[in-house]
Symmetry: C2
Subunit: 239 residues, 2 copies
Amino acid sequence: MPESTEHLVKSFDADLKKLRDLLTEMGGIVESQVALAAQAIAERDAAAATRAVEADPQVDALEREIEQFVIRMLALRQPMASDLRLIVAALKITGDLERIGDYAANVAKRSIVLAQYTLPFSLTGLVHMAHMVQEQLKMIIDAIGASDTAKAIEVWRSDRVVDDLYTALFRELITYMMEDPRNITPCTHLLFIAKNLERIGDHATNVAETLYYAVEGEVLSEARPKGDTSAYTVVRPKE
Amino acid sequence: MPESTEHLVKSFDADLKKLRDLLTEMGGIVESQVALAAQAIAERDAAAATRAVEADPQVDALEREIEQFVIRMLALRQPMASDLRLIVAALKITGDLERIGDYAANVAKRSIVLAQYTLPFSLTGLVHMAHMVQEQLKMIIDAIGASDTAKAIEVWRSDRVVDDLYTALFRELITYMMEDPRNITPCTHLLFIAKNLERIGDHATNVAETLYYAVEGEVLSEARPKGDTSAYTVVRPKE
């Protein structure tokens, strides 16, 4: 390889590494937002909720930085085929991470309202769901750092479990609302919290699909496991 | 300009035009999904709902086509600065359109469940919101076709109105739930329908911001109009 080409290749590899580092940095912040949101629900911790919300501008700034960096890379390095796939994948992943951060902030905001209520039921199911989603996210961010497609597949498969948890919670919360109208406002927020967690799981799954495609060059699967059937759910009050 | 450069420029312009055509095609399908979903709610039209859901694979296929086309453009044309901005913008817009299609399909699915209920209240507010969002979407897709940033600003401003409609609907629906437990299941689906419509408006606003940045080279505004305060909403049952 001529010296100049080798030099170009080296700086491109350095750029790819920087891109990966930026993504894992953004992923790390988003992951901590989800962890804080989970803590805010589990322990009625308003300080954790506030920290989750306050991380949002940092996430948005990193999203912009990654976009700018990608545009510079495309302009200066004029990368080919498989490298382009990686770069376009990074752009998609950054979009998913930004959405995850938004959902985590929304969960945190709602947890502040929830803290005003004494709930006559336990939040174990919801907290369990939050921890599962947190684990999914941690795993997919590790997978980005190591281009680990086996981990990506694992995340992708676990989405089904999160969806099932969500569908069960949906029914449970509607039942509480029917039992006592005082449960309606808190349960509505809990419904949206559960939905947001389910969406975080979906975006983690998107990242898994994008990473798999970027690394392997083929689609993980045409039909992802679809488990959220709550759009069709009917719960009737007891007569 | 040397003949060969002129030729390259011409084919690049042709590619940009094709990219814009693909985006407006995708936008057109997504717009019709939202229109069908609105009709499904307003007229309890299950056939319209089914057509909205069935359009989803077509939208996904267009998203993939646009991504492949962008990667090819980047590899073959090695575009510079402002052109790169347009191409990266196209990728972002395609992501937003895909999400809008998903939300429209979810609204349509829920409308099928709703049709099983005789509702003791009118859906005027929700139908009005659906039509507003539909109008926003139509406008932003026209704006993409014409690189019309004035229209993009108009869409961006109107998001505030959609958010206010959503917050009002949220309170109204919770009140119906409190009045009669038989309203709880349908109102929960209505809450999610309203939330999905609000999200469609958000994504139309994202597209407006992306389009503005792609055409003008500067950010529309750092702080978008934020009107959805429902995450903080507390409605208490009458004593």
